[in-house]
Every structure is written in structure tokens, then in C-alpha cells.
């Protein structure tokens, strides 16, 4: 009975972003003037090429035969039975080429860069998944590629550094700040300001200045579109709940977006690190407040003086003090709920999924699995939960064995 009123005033997907890239009070373009003409050029190119049938054909063909789409929607029966609650389905983004959903976006953006006539690609990376995906599509299209990566992340995600180098990319170590994703993004922005005339910057999440949050969502929404069809095929109905992890928030936006106008609950799992009370976490929506970083207005982890705080998570891909602006608006609308999952809970979910289903999830995705497990226990087997298993965990074996 409550369910009927709950979606009375749904988040109207057609309204956001507006023409200036604002998602309500969030988003926008907070960048140096040097970059503004490039962002305007990018926005125009995206609007021109993305709807072009020839672009769509190329994107879809490569998504199918190169990326390996559609990915399966898998009923995790053993995990569900163990939890004695709702039925958990896993969207297997870990099975795509390069092992994470990131390639949906890098394929789209690198293709766009090529249509724009750009020859050089740069990107920032945290866990290295976005870096590997960018290096991959840059190699595929024969473009020069530089990846900015924090020294701490280079240390904890060494296998991905090797992969990027094998793919012909130059990995630029960033030692400012804590040497993590935020610092890598600072340095990528600085490099872009200098080389903006011939360089395309592939931002890896639904963050950064307009048009990135919009554009990345468009390239990632294929996840949710597939789930929509697959869950109807498997079960004959829509699920009760969607769950995804949220760092910048691209895999979550990709899953959630096609369901926003449907009566489906959504849950974003942020990283609570050592726990929110410890101050060492990356739960931006759960514990941050309004600010501007890396070109957009959103929730941030910051002190009272507007200085950005260092984030912490066992998962390098969630270790970021900001979050995509559309998530900030979805939180305000109460259309999506956000919870914080700490390092221990994520590791426990990681091990459980390995043992019960024979699937090694990325530590990022393990946060979503952990949140889904908590929800599943509260619900009966008649309910369906879809979890975005955004990436595979091979890259995390070093961390998991030492944790």
C-alpha cells in the first residue's frame, strides 16, 4: 500500500541535466577558463555524434564483439539460500573484456575521440580498472595514451600497472597528496590544461565537469537496459531492489538509470573504510556535504574551511572524496538510498562470494554484495535483488591475502 505512494513524484529522468549541465543544484562546469572551450566542443561533439546511427552501429557492434556484451544476469542461488532471504541476481560486468564495467565508457569515449579527430588520450585511474580499459581502447584505435595514477595505487594495484604498460600506455606516477585517485585526477586536469588543443581526457566516472556525468551515464546505461530485459526474461517481473557500489558512481548510474521511473528501490553502497566514526572512509554521500571539486558541484569530504579530506577504503576504486552530481540529486530526491559498508564487511562479502558461487569479485563490487546481503536477510525469497557485480577481483588478490 505504501509502495503506491512512494513513487508518486518520481525522479523525472528527462529533466537532468539541464543545458548547463546542472542536476538541480549539482553538476555544472567549475573549471579554469582554458578548459571551457574544450568542454563546450566536447558537449557539441557528443550531441552530434552519439545519436548518429553510424556511431551507434559501431558502438553496438564493438560492445558485442569486442567488449563481450550482453553480460549474463546470474541467479546466485547458493548465496541466496545461505542467506535465507531474498533471491540475489548478479549482473556479471566482471565478465566483460578487461574485467570491469569501465570499458563500456572508455569504448564510447575513445570512439567519440576518434570521431572528433583527436589522436591523444589521457585518463586518471584509481584501482587501475579505468586505466586498463582506457589503455585497451586506445590501443584498439591506435591512439597515444597516458594514464595518471597515484603512487599508493600503483603500489597496491601493481598487476594493473603492468597491464597498462603491456597495452602501450605510459603510466604517469602522481606523488602529491596521498597518491590516490583524487591526486591522479588533479594531475590529469593539470596536464589537460596544458595539452587541451589536441588531447582528449577520458574521465572514468559520472563525475567531473559537464558533459562527463551525462555522457558517462549514457555510455554505462547499457548495464541497466540489459538487466531490465534479462530480469523480465528470467522472472517475468521487475526486481524489488537494485544494488551497486558508489565511488564516483558510474556502475551504479549505469544500472539505476533505466529503472528510475519504475517502482524499483535502489541502494548505493559507499565505502565506510575503517568506519565513518573513524574519519577514515570514502562515504561521501553518507557523511559529506556540498562543495566543488574536479569541475563539478556535489557532495564532498571536506573540513569546515573547504579543504578536501583524504578518503580511505580498502578498495582503491572507491577511495575518492567526491561523488557524481546525479547521485547527489538522487539522494536529495530520496530516489536512491545510500549506505556505507566498511572494509571488514566488504572483505567478508568478498570471501563469501568466492566460496559460495565460485566468483572472485572486485573489492569495489564486494561493497555492493555486502549491502545486498544485509538487505536480503531482511526480505523473503519472493523478493528479487539485482546486484551489479561491476568487476572481477584478480587485481585485489595481493590486498586480500595481506588483509
Amino acid at each position: 500500500m505504501q509502495a503506491e505512494n512512494k513513487y508518486e513524484n518520481p525522479y523525472d529522468v528527462s529533466r537532468f541535466p539541464n543545458e548547463n549541465g546542472h542536476f538541480g543544484p549539482y553538476g555544472g562546469r567549475y573549471v579554469a577558463e582554458t578548459l571551457m572551450p574544450a568542454l563546450i566542443e566536447l558537449e557539441e561533439a557528443f550531441h552530434k555524434f552519439f545519436p548518429d546511427p553510424a556511431f551507434q552501429t559501431e558502438f553496438k557492434e564493438l560492445s558485442k564483439n569486442y567488449t563481450g556484451r550482453p553480460t549474463p544476469l546470474f541467479y546466485a542461488e547458493r548465496l541466496s539460500r545461505y542467506l535465507q532471504g531474498a533471491r540475489i541476481y548478479l549482473k556479471r560486468e566482471d565478465l566483460v573484456h578487461t574485467g570491469a564495467h569501465k570499458i563500456n565508457n572508455t569504448l564510447g569515449q575513445t570512439l567519440l575521440a576518434r570521431w572528433m579527430g583527436k589522436k591523444k588520450i589521457i585518463a586518471e585511474t584509481g584501482a587501475g580498472q579505468h586505466g586498463v580499459a582506457t589503455a585497451t581502447t586506445a590501443a584498439f584505435f591506435g591512439m597515444a595514451c597516458k594514464i595518471f595514477m597515484g603512487v599508493e595505487d600503483i603500489r597496491r594495484q601493481a598487476p594493473n600497472v603492468h597491464r597498462m604498460e603491456l597495452l602501450g600506455a605510459e603510466v604517469v606516477p602522481v606523488d602529491s597528496g596521498t597518491g590516490t585517485l583524487k591526486d591522479a585526477m588533479n594531475e590529469a586536469i593539470r596536464y589537460w590544461v596544458a595539452q587541451v588543443r589536441d588531447t582528449y581526457y577520458v574521465i572514468g566516472s559520472v563525475a567531473g565537469p559537464h558533459p562527463y556525468p551525462h555522457m558517462v551515464r549514457e555510455f554505462q546505461k547499457i548495464i541497466g537496459e540489459e538487466v531490465y530485459r534479462q530480469v523480465l526474461d528470467c522472472t517475468g517481473r521487475l526486481p524489488e531492489l537494485l544494488v551497486a557500489c558508489v565511488g564516483g558512481g558510474s556502475n551504479a548510474m549505469g544500472l539505476f538509470y533505466p529503472f528510475l521511473n519504475e517502482p524499483v528501490d535502489m541502494l548505493g553502497a559507499e565505502a565506510a573504510g575503517f568506519g565513518i566514526a573513524s574519519g577514515k572512509h570514502a562515504a561521501t554521500l553518507c557523511a559529506g556535504n556540498l562543495g566543488v571539486l574536479h569541475g563539478s558541484k556535489s557532495y564532498l569530504l571536506q573540513d569546515e574551511y573547504g579543504q578536501i579530506k583524504e578518503a580511505h577504503s580498502v578498495s582503491a576504486g572507491l577511495d575518492y572524496p567526491g561523488v557524481g552530481p546525479e547521485h547527489a540529486l538522487l539522494k536529495d530526491f530520496k530516489r536512491v538510498s545510500y549506505v556505507a559498508i566498511d572494509d571488514d564487511e566488504a572483505l567478508e562479502a568478498f570471501h563469501l562470494l568466492c566460496k559460495k558461487e565460485g566468483i572472485i569479485p572486485a573489492l569495489e563490487s564486494s561493497h555492493a554484495v555486502a549491502a545486498a546481503m544485509l538487505e536480503a536477510k531482511k526480505r523473503g525469497p519472493e523478493e528479487i535483488i539485482v546486484v551489479n557485480l561491476s568487476g572481477r577481483g584478480d587485481k585485489d588478490l595481493g590486498i586480500v591475502t595481506s588483509a
Binding site: T34, L293, I308
Partner: protein, 267 residues
């Protein structure tokens, strides 16, 4: 007439370009920094740009990044920068522009900031990461005759966009000399001249050129066609190389005088 307009009128009458000097407030520490800005003002700086330290200065090169980090380590925040301005204003009428990223201003509160900056005697604000499209939310209610919002024009800015940026501008325009961050190498004065002239064709406001200008020779060359030259990283490099020297303020005074001399050869 406000201090900025006054200053440019006076310089024009004397055939000089403006020396705009940037330092990060609170570097190397708040007391020395206060002495530094006072000495700079006594030695010929025409407009002082006081940098508000920020944890993630994406428009700045390594020199200003490190200066920002040093100031933050001493706990220097917006309120302290305003206090430094207030103290300076007791003995000096040199116009002061606060140079900041947007987030520290948002955290301070836009309305509070405007009130407190005016009270402290600041004359304007430059926000590196707040382009024209987003600026109204901050400056919509400001009186631009009393407090200037200094707009940036980049080498990538097309003429049409220059016109829309300058339409609501006041004080002066800050022309970025080249694509890149502050303090980077490789200055092309022919290119800068071309951009200055392009910008001049759409505005009557004074034009100051900044980013990567590090020697009196550069200053002298740019003073031939621009109304002012901004020196930032070169001053910060001097601070960084003499962090513990008791003579640092005096050295900054000498350096300021040298740069000022180079602006006097304007046509």
C-alpha cells in the same frame, strides 16, 4: 572611484604597466607572509594578489602547489587571509585581489565572504575554477563598483566568448598567457601580443597578462602592449628557496623593485 580603477588611471598617466604580484597568504608562515606583502607594497607592487591556500589547486604548477601546502600546514584559511588584508590596509592603499579556488569560498559562505572581504579592505576576487557560466550564483548580488570579480580569458577563448566574458567584467581582465598551469615554461610574447590585441578589440578594461612570466625581461616585453603583468611563481620560488632566511621579506622587496622597474618602460 575605487582603488583598482584609480590605480590604472594613475599608471596610464605615468606610462607604466601595472605590476601585479601574487603570493600565497601564509607562506612560509603567517607573520613572515604579512611582512612580505607589506614590503612588496612598499617596493612598487601596484596590485597585490593574495592567494587563498587550497588542498587541490588544479590550475597551479608545483611551485604554487607547494606554497599552498606549506600555508595549510600552518593552518592558514580564508579568515586568516582576510585578517592579513585588514592589517595591510592600515598602512597601504595598494589594491588587493583575493585569488582563490571556489570551494574555500563556498565553505565560508558567499554572502559572509562578500561582507567580510569588503570590510577587510579587499578590492576584488579572482576564482580560478569559476567560469562566467557559473559565476552568477556567487556574484549575482555584488556591487561591482565596490568589489570587482576579476574574469579570466584564456588563449583557447574564442573572440565571441571573450565578448560574453567581458560584458559583465569590472576592474581588469586577467589574460592567461598560455595553455597550462601557473609557473610553466615557454613564453611566446608574439602569441600573447596577438591575444592581447584580440581581447582589446572587445573591451575597454585594462588587460593584465599572467602565467609563466618569470623575468624582468618578460615583464618589459609584455609591458609594451599590456596594461599589467602578473608575477606569481617567480615570487613563490624566492620564498621557497629562502624559507628560513630572516632576510626573506627584504629579498622580496628587492625583487619587487626590479620587476616594477621593468614595467616603467611601457610606451
Amino acid at each position: 572611484m575605487n582603488r583598482i580603477d584609480n590605480k590604472f588611471q594613475e599608471l596610464k598617466a605615468n606610462h607604466q604597466a601595472a605590476l601585479v604580484g601574487f603570493v600565497t597568504a601564509g607562506d612560509p608562515d603567517i607573520e613572515t607572509s604579512q611582512k612580505i606583502i607589506e614590503t612588496m607594497c612598499d617596493n612598487g607592487v601596484d596590485i597585490l594578489e593574495l592567494g587563498v591556500p587550497f588542498s587541490d589547486p588544479t590550475a597551479d604548477g608545483p611551485v604554487i602547489q607547494r606554497s599552498s601546502t606549506r600555508s595549510l600546514q600552518h593552518g592558514v584559511y580564508m579568515k586568516d587571509v582576510l585578517e592579513m588584508t585588514r592589517k595591510l590596509r592600515k598602512n597601504s592603499q595598494v589594491p588587493v585581489i583575493l585569488f582563490s579556488y571556489y570551494n574555500p569560498i563556498m565553505a565560508y559562505g558567499a554572502t559572509e565572504f562578500y561582507k567580510d572581504a569588503l570590510n577587510a579592505g579587499a578590492d576584488g576576487l579572482l576564482v580560478v575554477d569559476l567560469p562566467s557560466e557559473e559565476a552568477d550564483e556567487l556574484i549575482g548580488k555584488w556591487d561591482s563598483d565596490r568589489f570587482s570579480f576579476i574574469r579570466l580569458v584564456a588563449p583557447t577563448t574564442p573572440k565571441k566568448r571573450m565578448a560574453s566574458i567581458t560584458a559583465n567584467a569590472s576592474g581588469f581582465l586577467y589574460l592567461v598567457s598560455k595553455t597550462g598551469v601557473t609557473g610553466s615554461e615557454g613564453l611566446d610574447t608574439t602569441d600573447i601580443r596577438r591575444h592581447t590585441e584580440l581581447l582589446r578589440s572587445v573591451t575597454a578594461l585594462p588587460i593584465c597578462v599572467g602565467f609563466g612570466i618569470s623575468s624582468p625581461e618578460h615583464v618589459s616585453a609584455i609591458s609594451q602592449f599590456a596594461d599589467g603583468v602578473v608575477i606569481g611563481s617567480a615570487f613563490e620560488r624566492m620564498i621557497e628557496e629562502n624559507l628560513d632566511s630572516p632576510d626573506l621579506p627584504a629579498m622580496m622587496g628587492v625583487m619587487t623593485a626590479e620587476f616594477k622597474k621593468a614595467t616603467m618602460m611601457a610606451l
